[in-house]
Symmetry: C2
Subunit: 120 residues, 2 copies
Amino acid sequence: MPTQEQMKSTLQAYVDGFNSGDVAAVTGLFADDAVVVDPVGNPPMEGRAAIDEFYGNAVSAGAKLSLDAPIRGSHGDRAAMAFTVTVPGMRVRVIDVMTFGADGKIVRMEAHWGPDDVES
Amino acid sequence: MPTQEQMKSTLQAYVDGFNSGDVAAVTGLFADDAVVVDPVGNPPMEGRAAIDEFYGNAVSAGAKLSLDAPIRGSHGDRAAMAFTVTVPGMRVRVIDVMTFGADGKIVRMEAHWGPDDVES
């Protein structure tokens, strides 16, 4: 299991990757067979091709992430963060929960945001 | 499935129940067969007796909750919040994710906080 520091560094790298427009820096944090659920309640996106497409679109759209509070760890294989994502003309309040594999890659990402968490 | 407003109101009631020291107001938000994982990585606590004991102890210890950012919903049956819990001599940064049943009761609570998220 990765350490607290490794998991938190990975979440920070995810934020930094968005903010520098570096999609490979974001997608490289994920295992090839990772599952992304964004938002929770929508069908999961599974595997490398789906993840590359999803984050390629998000970074291309100019999404920038700002942490609302320090990243949290756990006593297991998860870390979580509350942030606001800004894309031109829209802001969304989100809480992401990431689950990690033994090698430190993200194996599951679940993004919690609802219709009421979007401001245009 | 409960509405966004119902789920967010329930999370706010959870915070308010702690802050008024009303353990029944907190435990009454949970289904009788709910599962509480606090922190993630520790064994789950399951069912009414375990939940009543856990929250009875937490409220008795004087735990007070302060939201770090607005409560998030989802496009499904979950809501989440980032907050700081203060007990005498200690502060803990937490992200809770709650899953709801059709009747609006919490059926699962997962608290994300690690050893590094505790300040004494």
